[in-house]
């Protein structure tokens, strides 16, 4: 009986220990991703879906961050350890008898600053003076134009970059 009581107290204290201070809550504003909106090249005011889009980091070991999505807006992370981030934007078009893939390379250039969030989440990175570079491939680019609309990446409320295609 006493043992059970001790166990009970122990359980209470174990769970009592898990406060907001110990786990980073998922809704906390930590490092923001860069939000990219896709618009029609012919009519830049109109949003236009990419059918179908995959996005991979463009390094020796590439990691897929967007996988075969039919979308007009994406949010992708930027590197927290380097002043540039390289991505491959892959558009896959399915035809009746074949599949076409077109890969465009885009590099994001920026300045970084680390800001304190709280004790559970540690720090976040804020990005300034965001710039983008589309690797030209002549007529092979499916992305026609990349424009930065917001140079500071500190939230994900609205697009930072538009890509016309």
């Amino acid at each position: 009986m006493i043992k059970r009581g001790i166990l009970f107290i122990f359980i209470i204290f174990t769970f009592k220990g898990c406060t907001k201070d110990d786990i980073c809550p998922p809704d906390t504003a930590t490092t923001a991703k860069v939000v990219i909106a896709f618009s029609d090249f012919a009519n830049p005011a109109n949003a236009k879906n990419v059918n179908v889009l995959s996005v991979q980091t463009d390094y020796e070991t590439s990691v897929e961050v967007i996988s075969f999505e039919n979308t007009k807006e994406i949010a992708i992370p930027l590197s927290t350890t380097s002043d540039t981030t390289k991505y491959k934007f892959i558009r896959t078009t399915y035809r009746t008898n074949d599949t076409l893939t077109n890969t465009d390379k885009v590099m994001f250039i920026y300045q970084r600053q680390d800001g304190y969030v709280n004790r559970a989440c540690g720090f976040k990175t804020e990005y300034y003076n965001l710039d983008s570079k589309l690797e030209p491939e002549g007529n092979e680019n499916w992305i026609k134009l990349v424009t930065v609309i917001r140079e500071t990446v500190n939230d994900e409320n609205s697009p930072h970059v538009t890509m016309l295609h």
């Binding site: 009986m1 930027l78 927290t80 350890t81 004790r119 559970a120 540690g122 720090f123 990175t125």
Partner: protein, 243 residues
């Protein structure tokens, strides 16, 4: 079940014992003519828990000295002075804090002693003040995406000349174990009033206040101390004539 019997016995004997004592006390107040002698003086002591933690806990060192002076029959002016050094490690941040603190206030003895005894159950209030420095030794950028794993950044930054102020409720028990020698244990509930926040960081630990919480201004603490009463004068508490 075997264990319950002695426990129960103990409780019963305690209960009976108190009954007798209460009866005695009543007798005393009614008939006693011996005047109650109250000792007044300066009580000085040290915290035992902090040196012990210094020995056994990694990344901690600290000490605290205290003194109280009996002002009236029930009230004691109290002062604690201490110094603490503490490494605080969280999954994403590590810091080192060191500094000194002072707590000043009073204790109220809520315990009615029997003749010749000097025990106390005290309720006290303190104003706490700490000056310290904090060093951010390493940190990581929080991330939940696998594309860019974070690295721990070891760029030590020091924030000096920080201060913090808090109010503290302190509840303790003091027992006279030998003549004029007291052992006491206390728990503390603290509420931060103001603090200097380091730029682009926070105080994870404040000497005297202990760890802080992001979502609350409260803190907790405890003390276990030994103290010696230097008697300065004695006052006879002449029993008031019964009405």
């Amino acid at each position: 079940m075997m264990k319950i019997a002695p426990t129960l016995l103990c409780c019963i004997s305690l209960f009976c014992g108190t009954q007798v004592m209460v009866a005695q006390k009543n007798n005393e107040t009614a008939n006693d003519t011996i005047p109650k002698v109250e000792k007044f003086g300066l009580r000085v002591g040290v915290d035992l828990a902090k040196p012990l933690r210094t020995l056994i806990e990694d990344g901690y060192s600290g000490f605290e000295v205290m003194g109280d002076f009996r002002v009236t029959k029930k009230f004691y002016a109290a002062l604690e002075l201490g110094n603490e050094k503490k490494d605080w490690n969280e999954p994403y941040v590590s810091s080192k804090t060191s500094g000194s603190y002072a707590k000043i206030g009073f204790d109220y003895n809520a315990y009615e002693n029997w003749l010749g005894m000097e025990n106390a159950i005290t309720l006290g209030l303190r104003y706490g003040f700490s000056t310290f420095k904090q060093e951010l030794s390493s940190y990581r950028i929080y991330t939940d995406n696998p594309a860019f794993p974070t690295q721990t950044i070891y760029e030590s930054q020091e924030f000096g000349g920080l201060t913090a102020h808090w109010a503290e409720l302190i509840i303790g028990i003091k027992t006279e174990i030998l003549n004029n020698l007291y052992l006491s244990i206390n728990v503390q509930l603290k509420r931060k009033i103001t603090e200097d926040e380091p730029e682009n960081f926070a105080n994870l630990y404040i000497p005297g206040f202990n760890r802080t919480y992001d979502y609350s201004k409260f803190g907790v603490g405890y003390g276990y101390s030994i103290s010696y009463l230097v008697p300065i004068f004695k006052k006879t508490d002449a029993p008031k004539a019964e009405k």
